[in-house]
Amino acid sequence: MSYSSVTTAPPKVAQPMTDGKRKQLNVWRLRAPLLPALLVVIAVTQAPFVITLYYSLFRWNLVSTSARRFVGIRNYLGAVTDPVFLKAIANTAGMTLSIVAGAIVIGTLLALGLHRNFRGRGIARTLAITPFFVMPVAAALFWKAGLFDPTFGLLGWSTAALGLGKINWVSEYPRLSIVILTAWQWSSFALLILLAGMQSFPVEVTEAAAIDGAGRWLTFRRLMLPHLRPFFELTALLASMYVLENFAAIATLTAGGPAYATTNLSYYVYLEAFSAFDLGQASAYGIISLAIAIALVMPMLKVVAGIFRTGGRA
């Protein structure tokens, strides 16, 4: 303290410090310890963003023989006229919605099952949660070779046994295959949150409803569901934030194909940056993807913020 006051008050200063100034200085002194952290945050999040924005204004292909040159917004115009990019946006929206919806439905059913008392519930719960902790690439490889594959896979074998013939899952239903695989992984996540929600539901209310003559379905529909609403919202928000950038399943199962049927925004940016090495165009795609992600997530974030404000508003 004494050190800093000596150095910050050179002898030349004639006026004594006003109260307001001193207060301000004090505020900054209190904030000072936070500054390094703030600088780190800016350095690792905002600086790359600014650099990406800068690169997006150049024609810059690492492997091309021509030098880097400024092209203004040409990369952005290229993005809106690129049918594959537009397809990737549609794919991202479609797949994210279906995956999140699927995960919530499966997660709810699992949570309802696990909410009841039965023997071996601990084991069943562990098993149901496990998919979420399997590494995405490992899970995708397992589904590719062990389940979807018509020759070696369980699904191919079981549809044949049912007389439906062997289905070429990845070729014929590429988007559905990705949705099934990712929804399976995220259903455990939904289960975790929703089960916690169900277990926080007061037992007295269930008992009171039973005394009033409400059946199981009515209790669930009228009491449990409204109680679970914030939990559903939270699940939907967190799951969509991660599923938006789904990569492992796509890269491993379909490589974005066939004919870009399963290419989402993150995979397309990856292709442009690390396969075509067109860094300028990839940066523009990245910026647009970010804008879309923010536009999608912000309204959801607002809804979910309500939970924290009112402290469980339902």
Binding site: T7, T8, P10, N61, L62, V63, S64, T65, S66, V84, K144, A145, F148, D149, P150, T151, F152, G156, K166, N168, W169, V170, S171, E172, P174, L253, T254, A255, G256, G257, P258, A259, Y260, A261, T263, L271, F274, S275, A276, F277, D278
Partner: protein
Amino acid sequence: MVSQAKLRSLTLSVALAVASGAGFSTLAYSEPVTLTVALAANPQMQTAANLIGNFEQKYPDIKVRFQTLPENQLRPAVLKDVATKSGQYDVVMIGAYEVPLWAQKGWITDLSTYANSDTAWNQADLLKPIRNLVSYQGKLFATPFYGSSSFVFYRKDLFAKAGLTMPQTPTWDQVAQYAAKLDNKSTGVAGICLRGVPGWGQNLAPLTTVINTFGGRWFDQKWQPQLSETKTKAAITFYVNLLREHGQPDAAKDGWQECLQLFTQGHAAMWYDDTVFAGPVLEQAAPGLKDNIGFAMAPVNATKASGWLWAWGLAIPKTSRNQEAAWKLIAWLTSPEYIKLAGTKAGWDQVPPGSRTSTYQIPEYKKATVAFGDLTLASINAADPLHPTVMPVPYTGVQYVDIPEFEQIGDFTSQQLAGAISAQITVDQAIDASQKKIVDIMQDSGYTK
């Protein structure tokens, strides 16, 4: 405030001084020299990493540090390093596609002076097509670690049972007939396994050899895209139909990994792919299959040979400060001496194939590869990356076009091809969309107007 700024600049300059000092000392004064090497994670390179103690014994003042990366991560990592001249690596492993392009950009060192003066390395012993592949304008820019071509793997027992004989060099028409005859849905054996998954190094590699031997080409002499030209179109249609009618099911997801698995587990009667998989196929074949696996040259149509040509080379980035030491390392790793060492220490099936004539004269190697060694050598020697097809072309490369734009072109086209293989779109739609995209790319990069 003044003092804060002072303090800040002081810290900054101290940090800079420390950083630059440290950098300086490791780059210029460290003794012994440490070489950082970027490698692809494949079995032959793992063997090399395990045997590096022998090199360090021979050159006690050189230490080697390996950075092993999966093939698809190696490319971006190495490219970023050399393109931005960050100088992280002293030796990089790059493919035949990169060598001429990077040499042209001045990213990698011309090795011809080293190669000419290093007689022990015996430059003349290198297989000629492979040496051409890692050269640019007649000058060597990488030492070939291994080379490969493509050929057909087939099941001798299934052929005998159906009363068929595989010629030494079959035509594609014959292969299609055999596939139709041997395709058996009830036993789960596909007529043929071919790559279907998108990626310019995946389904486009075998397809491009089919295009070549059908007399088609990617570009004419004026760089006009030729994908929708009759012969190219016929080749693409043939490939897609063969795969759809008698290929493995769900082919649009399969690369060489999946085909290797299907073939070695007895679920495909034929497989057309890289010669380097001959060893793994025999090693991984299900019980009873090993003695029933035969090999034949790449199928042809209008040309005499149609196998592809690939090599993994070791190059020295211009930014490396240890050029001399780096040459010693890449010469040792590709020397006849190393091949003998790898054979005796790690087993003769672990030897990097397809780089030197002398490898194919070692009795132990000949014995270990009796089923496919000669055919591999013949396939490599028959491939001509300078004249890959019937008509003249302005580019080099057999299963790729050696221009920087090919990755972009290849990614798009291979996606459309997978679309056609999975019947999401028709072959004509796939060709039209690709042709249009290639026209755009070639205009954008200034090849055509």
